[in-house]
Every structure is written in structure tokens, then in C-alpha cells.
């Protein structure tokens, strides 16, 4: 097929939008942690944008989407993006291959960044670096291959045939389960369950959520891989589910806690975005509203549970991404209709295809099992090599100072309470005792 300038325009923009989500996530998570950990938290997302992009360039893309004769892992044809150029690729026949690859890259970037919320405020940065490297290659790329790259879970002869429009399984369940494993491995924060650990900047949380919402249009409507009616459907489903999820969360919260909160609105919305992700291009608008409502309420429940079982999922990655992803993946198996996607047979239970629900469950189950075990393995290896958790002292000090030698906010006065830059000519002896807090 020919390259369509319209499709290409939309897909380039989608790619930019999805890239913008990762800094959006940085702000969303950054606002939710305490002020002493905001930079450490932001860095985890920001750094993923650096490292995973390069990993994708080197080997990630080819392991996920490289042609390979088998359904387990991609081949090596696209190592270093060899032959990934202006010509279209089979999976996206109307846009340059480079654009398709870049679009997928942004998914690879944000997925591991999502995990960081679960173990926020206590991960060692150098451990994180190694974790990111291994998780990208050993978990993300294979799972993406299984579902989208021609692997055994996706569509195609002899495969399971699960429907995952934009990554409910590949991105959200995958990240959510990895989060679960990480919490088990890394453990609670100091003071969890005793002290209140308040978000330090809620407007920052809302800013991040807004960028996520905005960028998610690229994520979901971009997954149509073209600028057409399907993209339109995915767009409107995404928006409606998100709106409904916000209302769903707030309704339950208003009843149970007697008050609707701003963080509740933002969290509910994110839950809706997650849940509609697998469904966006498969369901009718009314079904998106139902999915959203369900997600908002169920995520509220999942998150509330956490306090009860004393499980320190710091920023509720399991409660929102794993649970929201499950809601979406399974409801896709119920509400999918080929009238929207145009894919023959892409119907759910409601449209007479009860088997689809089973297919969804298989894909979810396989992903959960693999991601959990592989993540534990990676954490163990990382821990042995460089350590995954900061020391108790570092945790009390906060990640910003201990991992990055920075302070996020400096008031005017404090601007003067430091000594001259090293090497700027200061020779005052009283400055010579420099005790490094940073452990690096």
C-alpha cells in the first residue's frame, strides 16, 4: 500500500502524544510522593525515556516485532533499526515503518515507568537502571511479541486470539503484575501503616493526570494506526470511559468517605483510561461508559483494600493498572463487536461469542504468570549485583538527596545558605568538610 499523508500525520502526532505521557506520569507520580522523593520519582520515569528508547533502538524493537518464524520472540532483522525506514511495514501499511516503530517505542518506554509507582520512595537508582534494562528486554519485548507481534496470544491462525487494542494486557496488566512482584520483593516503606504519607503537591498530580489523559488519545486512538473511523471510535471510547470512571470513583468515595476528592477524580480517570485501553477499538460508546464506570468503582475498591491488608503499593499501581487492566481485558471479551473494529469475528460474549472471554482470560493469565515470575527473577539478579533498595538512612533522607544530590524546592533564603561551587575559587577552610549524603 501507499503511504497516506493523513494517516502518517495522525500517527506522528500520536507518537508525540504517547511520548508526552511519560513526563506526565513523572508529574502524576511525583506529586503523589513526599517532597523529599519527588525528584527520585520523576527521574525514574524521565530516565526510562532515555534508556528504554536506546534499548528499543538496539534490540527491543526487533525482539518484539522482528519477523521470526516463531510465535515466542521476534527475530533479529531490525537490530539497530536496520531496514526500519520510510517504507511501510506489514503491521501498518499506510505509514512509514519508522513511524510505526517510534509509536511502539513510546509504549515500551512508559510500561516499565508505570511499575515504579508501586515501590516509590525506596528504590535504589542504580538498581533501577539495571532492572529497567533487563525488564525491557526480558519482559516487555516478549509480551509485546506474543500479543501484537505475531505471537501466540494474539490474532492469527493457531494463536489464542485475544483482543488487546492498545495494551490493556501488554502494558497495564504486565506493569501491574510486575508492580505486585516488586512490592513483594522490595517490601514496605519505613513508617507505612503508622504515619500518614501524604502527597506533597496535588496540583502536580492533576497536571500529570491531565497530560496522561491528553496523551492517551494518541495511545488508544493512535492504535488504529490510521486516521479513520476506527480512530474516531477509539478516541470517543477513551474519553467516555475516562469520564465515566471519574464519576464512578467519586460516587463511591462520596458515599464511603463522605467527600469527593481531587485525587479521587484523577485516580478514577486514570483507572478508566487503563480499562478502556484494550477495548477502545472494539466496543460501542455505551459499552465504554459501562467499562469506565465499572473501572472507577472497582479500582476504588481495590485501592481501599490495600490499607486493610497492609500492602505498601505506594501509588496503587496494582490497584489501578493491574485491576483496571483486568476489568478492561475481560469486559472486552464481553462487549467487543465487529461492527466497531471491522475485524471479522471480533465479538464478545454479548454478541454471541462466549469463547472470546476465555481467550481474554488465557492471555491475561499467561501474562500474569510470566510477568510475575520474570520480574521476581530480574529483581533478585539486580539485588545481587547492585542492590534494589536504598538504605534505611537514605530512605529517611529521601531519594532526592540520597540518590541524586538535589533538593527539589529551594526558597529564596536557602539560596544563600550554601557554599560556593567547588572549583569556583572558594578556598575557605571551613568548607572542606564535605560529607556526601549521596551514596553513589
Amino acid at each position: 500500500m501507499e503511504i497516506s499523508s493523513g494517516d502518517t500525520a495522525w500517527m506522528i502526532v500520536s507518537t508525540a502524544l504517547v511520548m508526552f505521557m511519560t513526563p506526565g506520569l513523572a508529574l502524576f507520580y511525583g506529586g503523589l510522593v513526599r517532597g523529599k522523593n519527588v525528584l527520585g520519582t520523576i527521574m525514574q520515569s524521565l530516565f526510562a525515556l532515555g534508556l528504554v528508547s536506546i534499548i528499543w533502538f538496539v534490540a527491543g524493537y526487533t525482539l518484539a516485532f522482528g519477523p521470526s518464524g516463531n510465535t515466542l520472540i521476534g527475530g533479529l532483522d531490525f537490530l539497530f533499526l536496520r531496514d526500519v525506514g520510510a517504507e511501510p511495514f506489514a503491521l501498518a501499511p499506510t505509514i512509514p515503518h519508522s513511524v510505526y516503530m517510534a509509536f511502539q517505542m513510546m509504549f515500551a518506554v512508559i510500561t516499565p515507568a508505570l511499575i515504579t509507582g508501586a515501590v516509590a520512595e525506596r528504590m535504589r537508582f542504580r538498581g533501577y537502571v539495571l532492572f529497567l534494562l533487563m525488564w525491557s528486554l526480558l519482559v516487555y519485548s516478549p509480551v509485546a511479541h506474543w500479543v501484537w507481534g505475531g505471537g501466540f496470544l494474539g490474532l492469527g491462525d493457531g494463536n489464542v486470539g485475544a483482543l488487546d487494542f492498545a495494551g490493556g494486557t501488554v502494558v497495564h496488566i504486565n506493569a501491574g503484575v510486575a508492580a505486585l512482584a516488586a512490592i513483594f520483593y522490595i517490601g514496605k516503606r519505613h513508617g507505612f501503616g503508622k504515619e500518614a504519607i501524604h502527597p506533597h503537591n496535588i496540583p502536580m498530580v492533576v497536571t500529570g493526570a491531565a497530560i496522561l489523559w491528553f496523551g492517551w488519545f494518541g495511545f488508544n486512538a493512535g492504535s488504529a494506526l490510521a486516521s479513520n473511523g476506527l480512530a474516531g471510535a477509539a478516541f470517543i471510547n477513551t474519553h467516555l470511559a475516562t469520564a465515566a470512571a471519574m464519576l464512578g470513583w467519586l460516587a463511591v468515595e462520596w458515599i464511603r468517605n463522605k467527600v469527593p476528592t481531587t485525587i479521587g477524580a484523577a485516580t478514577g480517570a486514570v483507572g478508566g483510561l487503563v480499562a478502556v485501553t484494550p477495548a477502545a477499538g472494539f466496543v460501542e460508546p455505551w459499552a465504554a461508559v459501562v467499562i469506565g464506570l465499572a473501572a472507577g468503582m472497582i479500582c476504588y475498591g481495590a485501592v481501599s483494600l490495600k490499607a486493610k491488608i497492609s500492602f505498601d503499593d505506594s501509588l496503587d499501581v496494582v490497584g489501578v493498572h493491574m485491576v483496571g487492566g483486568l476489568v478492561g481485558a475481560l469486559l472486552t471479551g464481553i462487549f467487543a463487536t465487529e461492527a466497531i473494529s471491522g475485524i471479522e469475528g471480533a465479538n464478545g460474549l454479548l454478541y454471541g461469542n462466549a469463547a472470546q472471554l476465555g481467550k481474554q482470560a488465557i492471555a491475561v493469565g499467561v501474562t500474569i504468570g510470566y510477568s510475575f515470575l520474570a520480574t521476581l527473577f530480574i529483581l533478585k539478579v539486580t539485588d545481587m549485583l547492585v542492590g534494589v533498595r536504598v538504605t534505611h538512612e537514605e530512605e529517611l533522607t529521601g531519594l532526592d538527596l540520597s540518590q541524586h544530590a538535589e533538593t527539589a524546592y529551594t526558597t529564596v533564603d536557602r539560596g544563600t545558605v550554601a557554599t560556593p561551587p567547588v572549583g569556583a575559587g572558594s578556598t575557605s577552610a571551613s568548607h572542606s568538610v564535605v560529607q556526601r549524603t549521596a551514596e553513589g
Binding site: A196, H198, P199, E253, R256, N257, V259, T261, I263, G264, T267, Y300, V303, S304, A307, D316
Partner: protein, 112 residues
């Protein structure tokens, strides 16, 4: 010399400042503080969990004055910072053995 300190409700600061100014007080130092006392804090909700926050935002005033003025300062603050609701705050007085104005080196009353 006396150092009169007072913890008051933040929205009363402007009124108290003006009242002190009109009674001839020429300076004061103000700090944002958190108060704990009979006035209970509030509950906050975060993702389904409820938290009790015991501290309430308050403002602390410090006014250096002549021994003779201190009664007057206390009264002025009491009158203007008063709302009658719990949490109006406290005033306390401490003796200052010395006061100096940095600009001029003046000491004692002259430094005020």
C-alpha cells in the same frame, strides 16, 4: 524590655498588625507555624483512606517592646485576634535583657 509572642489565626494577622501599628508599635516579626491545641485538626481523605491531621495553620507574632508597653500590646492583640471560637491562640511574655538595632547599633528602647 519585653518580647511579647502571640500565636493567632492567620486571617487575623492583618487586623492585628494594623491595630498594633495604630497604637504606636513600629515593628514585629511574623512566622508561619502549625498549632496543636484544643482546636482539633481535621480529617483528610486519600484514596479511600482517612487521615487525622492534628495541626492547624497559625501565625506567630513576635513584638519587642518597652516594659511599659507590654500590657498594652497584649490587650491590643487580645482584642483584635479574638473571635471567641476555640483556637484563637495564646500570648506569652518573656524578658529580653538586651535589644540592638543592627543598622545603628542603638540599644534598648532606642533600638525598637
Amino acid at each position: 524590655m519585653k518580647l511579647v509572642s502571640a500565636v493567632i489565626k492567620p486571617f487575623k494577622l492583618e487586623e492585628v498588625k494594623e491595630a498594633l501599628r495604630t497604637t504606636g508599635i513600629q515593628g514585629m516579626t511574623v512566622t508561619e507555624v502549625s498549632g496543636f491545641g484544643r482546636q482539633r485538626g481535621h480529617t483528610e481523605v486519600y484514596r479511600g483512606a482517612e487521615y487525622q491531621v492534628d495541626f492547624v495553620p497559625k501565625v506567630k507574632l513576635e513584638v519587642l517592646c518597652d516594659d511599659s508597653q507590654s500590657e498594652h500590646v497584649i490587650e491590643t492583640i487580645m482584642k483584635t485576634a479574638h473571635t471567641g471560637e476555640v483556637g484563637d491562640g495564646k500570648i506569652w511574655v518573656v524578658d529580653a535583657s538586651q535589644v540592638v538595632r543592627i543598622r545603628t547599633g542603638e540599644m534598648g528602647r532606642d533600638a525598637l
